[in-house]
Symmetry: D2
Subunit: 440 residues, 4 copies
């Protein structure tokens, strides 16, 4: 769901523990903090269609507050710049012409400085509104929606920045690797967790913020299955590569085979073989591949082929969610080991203390998004929401694959066991990884 | 599953009532009968990648018997022509180079006559083998598999011939419309059949021929739903068109919107507006659109948009299969009206007697393939079969949509309630239609 | 000028020695004779855009007579089939919609038989017209234009048939090689013919049939140059290949380098390396490359790169024409050796008697079309002709290169020293070759 | 010749009046002055392949001095950054891998600031070298070549900046229009200058700097022709548009027709119809089209079609050069009126004084580049220069069209009557215009 144009209609009806004002400021500041390491030039480009310029993310998330809250609800609100609606509107076809996604990388104006001014202006206006008598429960919900929307874009900011810097032959460092940071995954033994067949409840069940596509408790019948307690590592993936996995066509989906052939793919994205050794571009720069870290930046096709090579399969999203619930609520269940794979510590400062992690529930989440074998489809009773915000609610439910979990680039408060992320099966620029499953 | 390159591994272990020899001759003759109306020129071309030349279908189905039965099992078998393996092998990457699909339409040689000689030669050899002491249960299974493979290609022959003739400005007639043939659909009242929620059994349960992808009984939890007793008609679809359905972007999946835009699609395939009236190319030639006939030659995108416009949705494949079983085994259930939409009477002679049809069970099948909302994915416990035949078993389980039922071009003996046909959501050259469903 | 859509307006004002009726029959019969070796399937396909189906050539040349002569001039003429104007009209945008060139290969109807009936009908009508009192000088001119148009298509028929059969993995034979046919080129010593600088007259100067683009005598200043007495041979071209000519980027025009790279070209078209030996598909089937025959089926880029490798260049069209005139009118000039390279003897039966050829003037012509270094541009005073026939007169005078001479596929009566053939520099399916020149 | 990758080998053997040091500083400073109005973001992008990022131009011109002068000739020279050779090398295939042109716009690093430091470093080194005893005639020639190379890129800088800003919906102003600037073209009467047929001398004849492609005096025979004394105006071009010129297919070259159709072109580049009026993006921002100014930003196809519509043609480059010489050396010849069309006054400050212009010789030059009808081909005796600099000398002599004159973006010292600029016939982002000619 971190996809740029995706379902953002929520049903936020929980009691906010954090006051909305602080939350607003925290999220908005975090976005700008993520951009601190950038040079002005980095804000502008769009090397592939999937990747939006950081400047665009900064402005688009701001436009959201102007368009859906300030303009319709704030008294006497003055639009910052009429042209911005045209330039920074990403999706809503019903609201005026949109700039073609492909041309975002050509828009040198408004400048980055102009965009920061736009942010400052909207922030000031939003804070005025929040502190006014006008601000009611409905506006709070919309604000929270805007903040969740911005958090999605925070993840995209990181993956897009990684792409922009990672396709530069100078391999610039975004952030220095913290001292003493290491990955304890090597010590995690492969272990399979078994789940018995039966009817399980799926879907969001609480009262907090969530998206419409995860809403609607419903039943699903699961058959006996096992799932691996940890993610597939680079070491394991390298064994697949060395065994000729990319060339063994029996292992691949037909589309996947065409994809790796056509693009001459023989390793995860950002991998470079230099004088016989595999290196990987990370946000800390070009590094030797860490064999004990989870493999990431693989497409669904590669995840599927790897699983087949292992005589296993990817889990369904229902299996994933069920195991995740069990892991969360039953401390006596075998604990899933966390990889502590943290390329960026912007969201997960605590993840650096490896020794604490075994006590954390919901261990399956936070390293990489995990490809499932499930197509992204509506849950039973799902209805597209009416109106401008809802225009596009279910519109991506075609030819995409669900990912579960969350990655080191996902804001922590944004991770839920019911969260349904989705991408086309060939996408590799997100932090995507592999977890194995099988029936028994 | 009529897709050319698809799952063909079966588990045929039933007691054959018809002797295999008669069956072999019947199926092989039927293929040639389908080609009788063609001129030599019609056998050669490939106007789009999806459509194979009829000559290729004739040869490829024959090559299958030579490659998988005669060559490995018949003593002293002489290959008809070594080059044919290269030219008529459609898929099996592990068995020598394959001709690129795109170039099939450039192969003027071997000639059609040569191909018919190839067929005659292989038929003679097969009949010798069938009547020899060498012919055992395993060979019978393989033979039956080859015949089912050929039946799939019979359906493709019809849809491909329709495409070849239908894109010709002279709109040639393939077959004259039989006298007195009419469609009683207009009298069928819309009625919704309700099914209560619970755990249902899905998958092939008998002992007859079936494909591996429909195998494996398993449970699925269905929620309360209703399904329409008949297919959507041209009249209803025209109302959608007249209401601006193609331009109302709220109704469309994002991919679907791009698809109709890019290809300037504003009606089902083969429809032509001539002096204000809608005509439709059929195998009987260009005809005024029959408003009471089921709409056909629509993509999944169009089916989905139409359903949304109606405030409904497409059924899942599990719902479809469940209703189909109920319709089959419970005569007191409200009977589904059959459309008796028969563009080609080559397979369904009895369908011309409209009055008899209400007595037929499994009424949902035989008019058009019905788009579901289900992605084509493996059933629980599904395993790819090993070896050359099995190489590609699950390889299409990505980005495709399941269709259920069967069409006027499907051999009748090839229709099963558990049959899983599948195509990419933009495909329109098959006989594809729409049935509505909803939760309650 | 053998290009399908090209300048066909002529100024035929000579006294015809051969009666027009005989000529009409001879040319029309010759077209059908060229198709005799074909199977019905061969008539239909269009493997690349440049190559038209033989059926289309047969019909298009016939349509020309119907459209421009019978329809406007023959009393009470009944159109054979209205739809044919749409299907077989290749170019004239002002005369009704044209079928896209790319789709010619999908038109299985009208059948080849229908097209032959179309030809017979038009021939009968034309002969009636020719023998009627209605037939005047203007109609005779138009008829002659139609016949020259058909002769252009005869050459295309041969090259297109070669492409269709030559891209078939069975390498079918179009015509058996005649007994005793050989190429005496090996004995021809390289010799350079020198021409002194000065003002030379260029352009058609006689009274016979010619095209508008060669018309208009005018002056051109030529500088001292030499030109080779014979064509470049396969032996010489192979030396270029063996010396790494295709990989030596210094030798290539930038566009040419991109072209050979993108299409992985490393030899002339139709060349195949089989077990270490070079073979060449010819109309006689797949044959070992004849080292003493002229190299053919090379693009302008390859011709240019070869010449640069030799420290030479291609001649300009003015140089070529000037030398050709000198060779023609001055018997005491050193005679150019003819290659007697005859892949097809359909037009040049006498070419089989090698000993007679040295007596023939205009020796430069008849083996392969020779790439010049001249862009195809209008001669001084050139004016586009008005009206439908003239619509496209100069419209190809952009980004094309002039070829001079004529090939073994060019009807002999169609060869003139002033004839300006032209193609894009990447075209290779015509019989195209290389002659070297240099300044001194 | 302002094309980025073009012929840059010169034969500079004149006595320099300006000392090379001053010249070096002047040219280098001018490049940076041109970039003064830019924001950092503007330096980075590449909206189409033809347009390079300004940052790239700044670095590439600097790389030239490092690569061809400092590295091979300056003692103990330290390369500024090894990676820059890879990143800023535009063409020389023989010198290490080149970045694909298409990816220039994705290179956010090195930053603009880094590039300015690169410039400062190289400038310091170059000045040291120039003032050292090491600096000899050969190095001076190379330096001059580097400066001419940089001047070419100055023109590209302006046209590329115009494209970058002009495709931005905010239409940013690059430079305010100077007060009192106007175009006196309206008063210029159309007048045709006649030239008598005969042999004329073509090619560079002096001793100053020039490129190899204009070198080599030679003779050309010209026929009687007339040429218009001024450029075609927007008013005249608008009449062509209003008369349906873009839709009248008789007027177009076949390639041109396809080009305008495919790209939906119906006006010069940068023209926008806003509420019924034509506006034009200029470096001064969006302005109403000035009817008396010369039309610019048209392709060769449009120029050719316009000329045909007028019953005229484009001049050949030989005609253009001949008239230009006559205009230059014969003050009593009818003077060509200069348009004084000056969108950018960075190079032509004097052009603002309209009243002085009639006294200037060589009036044909300085407004817009003028499309000729000549293909870009080698002059007689032209030889590609050996070695790295010469690798690509003639490599663009294919499928391009010669332009003559020079534009308001061309450095004045870079304009010569013999200068051969060239572009593909579809290019429109340069300042290109139309002058009419005809035979008589």
């Amino acid at each position: 769901m971190i996809q740029e144009e995706n379902t953002i209609v929520s049903k936020a009806n929980n009691i906010e523990e954090v006051r909305i004002e602080s939350k607003y400021q925290a999220v908005r500041n975090q976005t700008e903090k993520l951009c601190k390491p950038l040079k002005t030039e980095d804000y502008v480009v769009q090397p592939i269609q999937d990747v939006s310029p950081p400047k665009w993310h900064l402005a688009h998330t701001t436009w959201f507050f102007e368009q859906f809250i300030l303009k319709p609800y704030k008294k006497d609100y003055q639009i910052f710049n009429d042209a911005y609606n045209y330039i920074f509107n990403s999706y809503y076809e019903s609201m005026g012409e949109k700039m073609l996604r492909d041309h975002r990388g050509n828009m040198t104006r408004p400048s980055t400085e102009d965009v920061y001014q736009f942010r400052a202006y909207v922030d000031q206006q939003m804070l005025e509104l929040i502190n006014s008598s006008q601000f009611n429960a409905e506006l709070e919900k919309l604000t929270e929606l805007g903040l969740n929307h911005e958090q999605q874009h925070q993840e995209l900011l990181i993956t897009d920045i990684k792409y922009i810097l990672g396709s530069n032959p100078l391999f610039p460092v975004y952030q220095q690797k913290p001292e003493g940071h290491h990955t304890p995954l090597a010590t995690a033994q492969q272990e399979y967790i078994e789940v018995r067949e039966g009817v399980y409840t799926i879907g969001y069940q609480g009262k907090g913020f969530h998206y419409d596509n995860e809403e609607g408790q419903h039943q699903a019948y699961l058959h006996n299955f096992r799932i691996l307690n940890r993610l597939v590592t680079n070491r394991e993936y390298l064994a697949f590569m060395d065994a000729g996995g990319y060339e063994n066509y029996d292992l691949w989906l037909a589309d996947g085979r065409d994809f790796v052939r056509q693009h001459h793919i023989n390793a995860p994205q950002y991998w470079h073989k230099i004088e016989g050794n595999w290196f990987q571009y990370t946000l800390h720069g070009l590094k030797k591949v860490d064999l004990d870290a989870p493999v990431t930046h693989v497409s669904h096709y590669e995840a599927d082929a790897f699983a087949r090579w292992q005589g296993k399969r990817l889990p369904t999203e229902q299996e994933w969610e069920t195991v995740s619930h069990l892991a969360r609520y039953h401390q006596n269940l075998h604990v899933l080991h966390q990889a502590n794979f943290v390329e960026s510590n912007l969201f997960h400062p605590q993840a650096l203390q490896a020794d604490t992690t075994t006590e954390t529930p919901a261990q399956m989440m936070g390293d990489v998004w995990e490809w499932t074998q499930s197509a992204y489809l509506p849950y039973p009773f799902y209805k597209r929401v009416e109106g401008a915000l809802g225009e596009y609610n279910g519109k991506f439910m075609s030819s995409q694959v669900v990912l579960r979990g969350g990655s080191c680039a996902t804001p922590e408060s944004h991770i839920r066991t019911t969260y349904r992320n989705f991408f086309q099966p060939d996408k590799r620029w997100q932090f995507t990884g592999i977890r194995l499953a099988e029936y028994f």
